[in-house]
Structure formats: C-alpha cells, structure tokens
C-alpha cells in the first residue's frame, strides 16, 4: 500500500527540529531518520503521522566519535558505520560482530542505530547491546536535554522513555577495557530475519577467573535486559564449559518469555538458554 499523506519538514538545524516537534506534538509528528522501520509501518498504514520531521539534513547528527571513554553515536549514524571496527578496541570489534546480524546490507546503508533504539523492537540487536553495556541516552526537546540510563529507557514492548516532543540526540556506550572477551549469538529462522532469541555476553579474566560478567538477552521478553542470576553464576568461576552450562541453565527460571502464535514461552526459554551458552562459548578464551 502507499503511505497516507503527511506534511514533510526538512529542518537544517537541531533547534529547528525540536521547535517543529514542539509545534506539532499534539498532531502526531514523527521523526524520520533511516526510515527502515517507519516507512514499512507507514506503507501498512499502521503509522499515519500528520507531520514527518526529516532529520537527515542536520549535519551534526551524523557524527560518530570517542569522548571521555565513551563511543558517542549521534542520531543519523547508519548501521553500516559499525561494519568497520575503527579504533575503539574491543567495543568496535563487538559492534562489528553484531551489525552483521542486522537485516541486510541495503537496509544497513539507510537504517540508524538511534532509530532502532527508539523503535525498541524486542528483537533489535542494538537494543540488546545498549541494555547489556548500560548505554546512556540523551534526549533533546525545545525545553532542553535530559540523560536517560538504559535501565529506564526500555519501558515495554516498543516503548521507551522518549517523550513525543523529544528526539534521541545521541547514545553513549562505555568503551570496553582491552582484554574484554565478548560473544554474541542470535537465532532466527532465516538470514536477516527477526531474532527469536539472542544473547550478548562480555567478561574479563582476572588470575584466570571470570570478572565483570555482563549477560544480556533480547528477543525473548518485551524488552532486552541483563540477567543478574546468570552473571552471579559466572563471577569468580573458571571459564569452562561446565561453568557456562550451569550459568546458562540459571536463566531458565529468571525469564518471562513472550509467546506468539508460532513460538510459545517454553520454546523461547529453551532457545534463550542455548544462546547464552553459545555466546559464552564464543567469548571463551582459546584454551
């Protein structure tokens, strides 16, 4: 189907963009960044915004920088920017690993990381990365800016803390210390398809034992999150297959999986535990 009619705005500056948002806030205004989720929603007429505020012409929103130990990703940075590892170490390698699972290349040339974080689909890879690494979100409105922690950002199925008069200006990821081990595993029925379950893990080794473990799951519950139970089962243990199997199994009772017509909660729970175990295997140091 064709999208319903709307009024198009292409601001050149951030202040113009936030003023437009403030002006049309009661009138279903939507921000257009990469459009790779919004345009399909408009084509189905699930989304029928009266005003579309295209932020692609605001030059400063395209920047990707390292600042004070953080990778700072502005609103219009496309997925494909993460295919090269650049010079931000273990985090760069992790993002380059994850980005390959996001849709397909012609989608990654347009779609943006911040757009995915605002869309907050439960099976979004970037949402899982943000939740697992405790990313920080900066929202901007005509009233000013506010910083939101990832634990507060994800509020429910496709629901975030972003207000209708705000746009996501940037997201900040803490750089990973050198020596951080990482693993990412996703299960989907076809290449590039939505994840039914995925897991991201990072940890370091101190005197041969697991330190600072982070374990996140996505695609399983309404929002991605870290699993404290699994992390507790890893910390201070040896990085062995036995440790991983025990830790992955401890996710079982911690999960409250989504169900839909094809996949019930038990199936997703089982997949999630398997993804955690495989992600731990992938992260594991070579023997």
């Amino acid at each position: 189907m064709k999208a319903a009619a709307f009024e198009y705005h292409a601001p050149r500056t951030l202040s113009e963009a936030t003023e437009l948002l403030a002006r049309y806030v009661g009138n279903d205004a939507r921000v257009l960044a990469g459009g790779q989720s919004l345009l399909p929603a408009m084509a189905f007429r699930v989304a029928t915004p009266a005003h579309l505020i295209d932020i692609n012409n605001i030059g400063e929103l395209g920047s990707l920088t390292v600042d004070q130990g953080h990778l700072v990703v502005r609103a219009c940075v496309r997925h494909k920017a993460f295919e090269q590892t650049h010079d931000y170490g273990a985090l760069g390698r992790l993002l380059a690993r994850v980005v390959r699972e996001i849709a397909h290349y012609p989608i990654r040339t347009r779609g943006t990381m911040c757009g995915s974080l605002v869309h907050a689909d439960p099976s979004s890879e970037w949402c899982l990365v943000a939740a697992t690494l405790d990313a920080e979100f900066t929202a901007l409105s005509s009233g000013g800016r506010r910083v939101i922690q990832s634990a507060d950002w994800f509020q429910g199925l496709m629901t975030t803390a972003l207000q209708p008069d705000e746009l996501l200006f940037e997201v900040r990821f803490p750089l990973l210390p050198e020596g951080t081990l990482a693993g990412f595993q996703e299960f989907s029925r076809r290449a590039g398809d939505f994840a039914l379950a995925m897991a991201l893990v990072t940890f370091r080794l101190e005197s041969g034992l697991i330190a600072d473990p982070r374990v996140g799951i996505g695609g399983v519950e309404a929002t991605p999150r870290r699993l404290a139970e699994v992390e507790r089962a890893l910390v201070g243990r040896q990085p062995t297959a036995k440790t991983y199997a025990h830790a992955a199994a401890s996710a079982e009772t911690a999960l409250d999986p989504l169900t839909d017509v094809r996949y019930d909660a038990e199936y997703r729970r089982d997949l999630a535990c398997t993804m955690i175990r495989r992600a731990l295997d992938e992260a594991s140091p070579a023997p």
Binding site: A3, F6, Q36, P40, A43, H104, P106, R110
Partner: protein, 154 residues
Amino acid sequence: MSRVTFTVNGGRHVIDVEPRCTLADALREQCAKPGTNIGCEHGVCGACTVLVDDEPVRSCLLFAVQAEGKSIRTVEGLAANGELHELQRAFVEHHALQCGYCTPGFLMLAVWCVENKPGATDEELRDLVASNLCRCTGYQNIVRAIRAVLDRTK
C-alpha cells in the same frame, strides 16, 4: 507538492512530488525509468533495489523528497551502446533469472558487489543476495553469475 532535483544514471531530473511518493514510484512514474520493479512495497523483497550515491537501498523505503541532490543508478544505466553489462550477460549465461521480476534489484546489488567487494567469498555473496527474494532460481545460479563476473575481473 515538493520540487526535487536528482540525477538518474547521470541524467538530471527535476520533478514535483507529493511527500508520500516513494523513490521507487517517482523513478517509474515521473522519471520514465520503469525498470525498477516494485514487489512488496515495505522493504522485504528487494526487487526495487537501486544505488543511491553508490550504495544499495530499497527505493520503496525512501521518499523521493529525501533523494534531493542524490545520484541514483538504476538497471536502465547498465547496458551501454547497445551492449548488455557484463553482469546482465552473466545472468543470461548462467540462467540466473526465470520470470525476471526480481532481476533489476539483484543486478543493482551485484553491481555494488562487483564495484566494492571484488574479493567477496562465496559465503559473503550468499549473505549479500539473501537480502533479495527470488522465487524462481533457488539462488544457486544468481551466485554463479556474480561469481563468474568477480572471477573474470579479478
């Protein structure tokens, strides 16, 4: 109506479009470039893949107004002087199409690959073409056709 200026296969086009008009529709209806086929209209099938500033995009997931100032390449730009592009010839030689509906999208994806990833492995090729849907060929012959051109130009 919004006025938009862009180039298609090197030729300048100045068109007036409704903001809701996709680039795919604008190319077909207003730029006399109907070679770009429209399949699903929501970004799943890849039939409408074109190159925008030399990167492959779904032209159904871009409004024409967003293409202001861009350089667009479509399947019509491949053949030159009455000769098919080497990828088009390879698609014929390797039977990489049957009904042909998905072919313009696959060709533009393949053009990007040949120009930017000349060293692509078979696994990378398979990953790339998984982007687009073909319901006739089973993909084997599409991969073979692109492989043949990559090997020849190596």
